[in-house]
């Protein structure tokens, strides 16, 4: 059920590009009926405006029928002046409608109907009047499931683009916040909004983003992930170069640092670019809790990131190639537990890792009530049973579960899946060349990370083009009174966030 992107012919729609609306309303309505031949949810409401026939055309379900039928039409027919019937007049009369505009071509009219607007076509008039009374059902704003916090706002984006942009607007009450809009996708014509702060985001970045978005030619955009893959710098890389979030406060914080947000209609996941590697191990909660715990948790997460990537490989390398590294007593107990295991360590590790991944994937699809219990019990019971049966050894179960736990601590899911994937090549390298292979693998990985750029910003900054002042926010989180500059990599001019040395201190008590 995938869409093909380029090469699809667009000639079918070309011919009706410039066709104007004919004065005869019946012909126009027939044409529209032909276009929407098997769509039973298109409503044609025939009414009389003065002495003329008129049709009200809309798609059921996309409009707020209450407003149209009760209010708009009623207001329309009060004191109707027959001669002057145009958009201006209707706009004056109908006050319960958001906006009223005109449309002159058939294609445009059809697009407006598809957008969810109501179209009024009057006989002998060669313009159609578009009335905006959208009222489709939407999900209410609630806590996002994928990013929940203990302390912080509990709002999350929804699928409607206007709700999302309004959520961000509610956070940033500034006229510098600009919202550009595009429509991408030939069939879906998804609205996409590009938001940025004019005084902070570099203009070249915005231009580049718009250029890349305009180059997209695809059938349909159903999710922001499509756009992400189509505008990335290096789509073949394992690592994400665009961040996505479901929380308005994260989006607003990134906007304030000079980044660009892309809001896509139909999905609550908003894209943020450009991004650096270290952002993926930062959680929004780091900024809301006290800085002591944030420092500890960030250091812990960095260590666990390395563990999640390297621990199974390290274990395999050490027990297979470099047994001299293990302390003697530990080595003897590992040897004791491996006595009856038929597989070499590498194969055992691969089996356990694949089983763990399968458990995870299954756990997503189970109903929520059973899912939790099964994943925990499943891991324990299966692990224990496998050890008893002599298929895997107990140290391996410990290693694999620690790795799994470590990979769950990565706050952003797209980075966690990259790390999960990269574990396997590391494991194979370790099983073939021992620690030498692990070192080679990590050097190649490090080089790849240092080469990567996300919209011109080096991926591994501030560690890789080393910038000591930027490191304040990477491995630790300095208190808010110390964070006085914006990241310099992309915000070139306006880097001072607030006055320096704002450290709060208590007034000396006067006795």
């Amino acid at each position: 059920m995938r869409f093909r992107t380029k090469g699809k012919e667009t000639s079918k729609t070309k011919q009706s590009n410039e066709q104007p609306i004919l004065s005869n309303v019946e012909t126009t309505v027939d044409y529209i009926k032909e276009e929407f031949k098997d769509s039973s949810d298109l409503i044609f409401r025939k009414i009389n405006v003065g002495k003329r026939h008129a049709y009200l055309i809309y798609i059921d379900g996309l409009v707020d029928s209450n407003r149209i039928e009760l209010h708009a039409i009623e207001q329309l027919f009060k004191d109707l002046d027959d001669q002057r019937l145009d958009a201006e007049m209707i706009e004056e009369k109908i006050v319960s409608i958001n906006s009223v505009s005109e449309s002159t071509t058939l294609t445009d009219t059809i697009n407006q109907i598809l957008d969810g607007n109501t179209v009024l076509i009057v006989d002998t008039f060669d313009k159609a009047i578009v009335i905006d009374a959208k009222g489709a059902t939407k999900r209410s704003v609630g806590e996002p499931d994928s990013e929940s916090v203990i302390r912080g706002p509990r709002e999350g984006f929804t699928e409607a683009i206007r709700v999302n942009t309004s959520l961000i607007r509610q956070k940033i009450h500034s006229s510098n916040l600009k919202v550009l809009s595009r429509k991408i996708g030939t069939e879906t014509k998804t609205s996409v909004a590009i938001m940025y702060m004019e005084n902070l985001a570099p203009p070249e970045l915005v231009k580049e983003v718009l250029a890349r978005l305009d180059k997209i030619e695809i059938d349909g955009i159903l999710e922001s992930g499509y756009i992400e893959e189509l505008i990335e710098d290096s789509p073949f890389s394992f690592f994400p170069q665009i961040q996505n979030t479901e929380r308005p406060d994260t989006a607003a914080a990134n906007l304030l640092e000079g980044r660009v947000c892309i809001v896509v209609d139909g999905t609550p996941f908003v894209l943020i670019l450009p991004v650096s590697f270290w952002q993926f191990i930062q959680a929004s909660e780091d900024y809301y809790q006290r800085f002591h715990i944030s420092i500890f948790l960030r250091l812990l997460r960095t260590v666990l990131l390395f563990l999640a990537l390297l621990m199974p490989a390290f274990y395999v390398a050490v027990t297979t190639f470099h047994q001299e590294m293990v302390p003697t007593t530990l080595l003897l107990s590992i040897a004791a537990s491996r006595e009856a295991i038929p597989f070499p360590v590498l194969v055992e590790a691969l089996i356990m890792e694949l089983a763990f991944e399968a458990l995870r994937e299954a756990g997503i699809r189970l109903p929520k009530v059973i899912g939790q219990a099964v994943s925990i019990l499943g891991a324990l019971v299966i692990g224990q049973a496998a050890v008893e049966a002599g298929i895997v050894s107990a140290p391996m179960v410990i290693v694999v579960s620690l790795t799994g736990i470590a990979s769950f601590t990565i706050p952003r899911f797209n980075m966690a899946i990259s790390i999960r994937l990269l574990r396997f090549p590391m494991l194979i390298l370790a099983g073939t060349f021992g620690l030498f292979g692990v070192v080679i693998g990590s050097i190649v990985l490090l080089t790849h990370l240092c080469r990567l750029r996300s919209f011109g910003v080096p991926y591994f900054s501030p560690l890789s083009p080393l910038d000591w002042s930027e490191l304040k926010d990477v491995f630790i989180r300095v208190p808010w009174w110390e964070m006085d500059r914006r990241p310099e990599q992309f915000v070139k001019e306006n880097t001072v966030r607030k006055a320096k040395s704002f450290k709060p201190y208590s007034e000396k008590k006067k006795s």
């Binding site: 190639f321 470099h322 001299e324 590294m325 293990v326 302390p327 060349f433 021992g434 620690l435 030498f436 292979g437 692990v438 070192v439 080679i440 990590s442 050097i443 190649v444 490090l446 080089t447 240092c450 080469r451 080096p458 591994f460 560690l463 890789s464 083009p465 080393l466």
Partner: protein, 355 residues
């Protein structure tokens, strides 16, 4: 797009070139010559080196400006640097594969190790100078933290008596001989002259070069003196990899007894970055015709050829050791003197016009 590195990264390159290859076998040779006074050797060499640097670089950015021109002298300089780099690369690659065979992977055929390393180096070099400098920076900082904390980790094993007869017969003669042996190794950093045109000009290169040289010598001195203190000059003179034996002695508790391989795997990337920058400079000096390509198309065949040469030229590891410490000392010293003279000519003679 011209690749630019900062002065701090240049200093790190210099320190890397001084210390990461020298620590494999050189302390054994120094101790054989100078016995327990071998740790004085790097200290004695330093003022000499720093004097040469000050003399060559002179004031301000004149050297950088002069290097941008083209003349016969410049071409001679490039070719000499390229040739020196080729010898350094072959020697170091073989030393590294020998060490890997001894410490990490005894039975893997040496060709496989060499191919694996060459493939990795190709991937890194093809990414350009900026990437090389970034990864060198990160790895080198980790490595220097380890080396600087080695004295703390080995406190229990240090036996001050091992230094003891500081004044002994033939002391001056021995120290002179070992300084002569050490000089071409630490003088390798002159090849980085070719990087000067890639540097942005905001800080004085003289200051950063001095810092880089000083820091590299400091790390080397720490390592050589710890070797003597922990192991005693007898054992250091007899083992081919004294630093590896020394870190086997780390015994923090019964549990943290075997940290040697951990330190080795933290040293390996630093050494590989050294090989990387050497390769990049070989490619730049010998094969690159235009300024804007990051690497020439000869990079890949060069890597393979040099790798095969490093296997083929030395039949056994004994031959390689003899080459390294007897032949290469002379070759390296002569080439470095020539390079230094060329730099002096370019710096101090009136400039020629490019054709």
């Amino acid at each position: 797009m011209k690749q630019v590195i900062s002065s701090f990264q240049l200093a790190i390159f210099i320190a890397n070139l001084i210390v990461s290859a020298s620590l494999i076998t050189l302390p054994q040779i120094l101790t054989q010559i100078a016995n327990q006074n071998a740790w004085l050797t790097p200290i004695l060499v330093t003022p000499f080196l720093l004097g040469l640097v000050v003399l060559a670089v002179g004031k301000g950015n004149v050297l950088q400006e002069k290097l941008k021109q083209h003349s016969m002298m410049h071409r001679l300089l490039k070719v000499t640097v390229g040739f020196l780099l080729i010898t350094i690369y072959i020697r170091d690659l073989r030393a590294f594969t020998d060490f890997t065979m001894e410490a990490l992977l005894p039975k893997t055929p040496i060709v496989v190790t060499m191919l694996l390393i060459s493939a990795t180096l190709y991937y890194i070099c093809a990414a350009g100078l900026e990437v090389i400098s970034r990864i060198t920076l990160i790895q080198f900082i980790v490595f220097s933290v380890i080396v600087l904390s080695l004295p703390l980790m080995l406190t229990n094993e240090i036996n001050w008596v091992n230094y003891m007869p500081i004044i002994q017969t033939n002391m001056v003669a021995n120290l002179t001989k070992s300084s002569f042996e050490l000089l071409p190794w630490v003088g390798e950093f002159v090849v980085l002259i070719m990087l000067l045109e890639n540097k942005n000009c905001n800080k004085s290169i003289k200051k950063m070069t001095i810092y880089g040289v000083g820091f590299g010598i400091l790390l080397l001195t720490i390592l050589v003196s710890l070797n003597i203190a922990v192991l005693g000059q007898e054992i250091v003179s007899k083992t081919t990899y004294p630093n590896y034996r020394m870190i086997q002695e780390i015994h923090l508790t019964d549990f943290l007894d075997r940290l040697d391989l951990v330190i080795v795997i933290l040293w390996m990337p630093v050494f590989l970055s050294k090989l990387c920058i050497v390769l990049y400079l070989i490619d730049k000096t010998l094969f690159q015709t235009r300024e804007d390509n990051p690497t020439s198309m000869f990079l890949f065949p060069t890597i393979l050829t040099l790798g095969i040469l490093s296997m083929a030229l030395f039949k056994t590891s004994m031959v390689h050791l003899r080459f390294t410490f007897l032949t290469w000392t002379i070759i390296g010293l002569v080439l470095e003197i020539f390079i230094f003279l060329f730099i002096l000519f370019i710096r101090y003679l009136p400039s020629h016009n490019s054709e």
